[in-house]
């Protein structure tokens, strides 16, 4: 099963966030709870944990991109 990874809404007012870094690359094995990527918002950088275990199949954005909340940023092929 494949699961879309969306841009999380880290606060009530958040409309967009900047993808600060990927901690995994396409093709990497990802375990639930591992940091998948980092998002920079007004106050801090949030290390976003993966909610799935599997293989990171595709990523659609690069570090530095500003992304709308809920936009699909990656796909994980779940175990």
């Amino acid at each position: 099963m494949k699961k879309n990874i969306q841009m999380p809404k880290l606060s009530e007012q958040m409309e967009t966030g900047v993808l600060a870094a990927w901690n995994k690359e396409a093709g990497d094995v990802v375990k639930k709870g591992e940091v998948l990527f980092e998002i920079e918002t007004e106050k801090v950088v949030s290390e976003v944990e993966s909610m799935e275990s599997g293989v990171l199949e595709a990523v659609f954005f690069e570090a530095g991109d500003e992304i709308k909340v809920d936009e699909i940023i990656a796909v994980i092929k779940c175990d």
């Binding site: 999380p8 880290l10 606060s11 007012q13 920079e40 007004e42 106050k43 949030s46 944990e49």
Partner: protein, 284 residues
Amino acid sequence: MEKKPEWLKVSYNKEAVEEVTGLMAKLKLNTVCKEANCPNLGECYKKRTATFMILGSICTRHCRFCNVSSGVVETVDPKEPQHLAEAVKELDLKHVVITSVTRDDLEDGGAKHFADTINAVRVLNPGVSIEVLIPDLQGVEEHLDIVIAANPDVINHNVETVREFYPEVRPEADYDRSIAVLEYVKRKAPHIKTKTGIMVGLGETDEQVFKVMDDSLNVGCDIFTIGQYLQPSPKHIAVKAYVTPEKFAEYKKIGEAKGFHYIASSPLVRSSYRAEEALEGGKS
């Protein structure tokens, strides 16, 4: 968006956040974690802890650092104390922190609602330690008496910033009044731990920070917190400096040498962050 220093990194676990958020919604409760867009929300919710915010989510004041909304306030929910007590039970908290918006529109500033909430928590959760982070209640002693009479373990009132920045940062507050609140609580109930805190990064000098420490110690304050101010949005007052972890460590060392029972000082410290540890430390 300005790049953040390396030390301003936090973790976010969607499931953990949604679990606590769901509980709060079910019980019609607010948390300052959410309303203030606290950077520690992810960590605290993952540990199933939160700081409750009573008396609604709309504040009557307009502090320029704060993300809590201002405007037309809500009716006070008489069921809130009971709901909050139920949430403490469901989260199995051993230490609860309760704060509020400032309600200058209410005759007692919300003091009785604070007391009702403390009492409700205690009835349903015997043995739980209770910390209240109160507004200044306009310095009215009889209103402070209502909170004191409910006998929480800790009464926190944040000074928030150095005296010199009040007109710009807390235009409707008064530095001396806030210090007087801490003084009054300690004088009336010496057994209750008093606590205050400031944000740094607004351009204050070390001497101004040390003066707040001295003023707080002079009124018997037990616990002091220092954290980095973070701008919630471009509309809020700007960050002047990202204070380094080394500087925070220096503040802690100096504050402890001055005589505080406990100081929490690091970039992501907020007044209720790991408050249970501060209470334990403050007992020594």
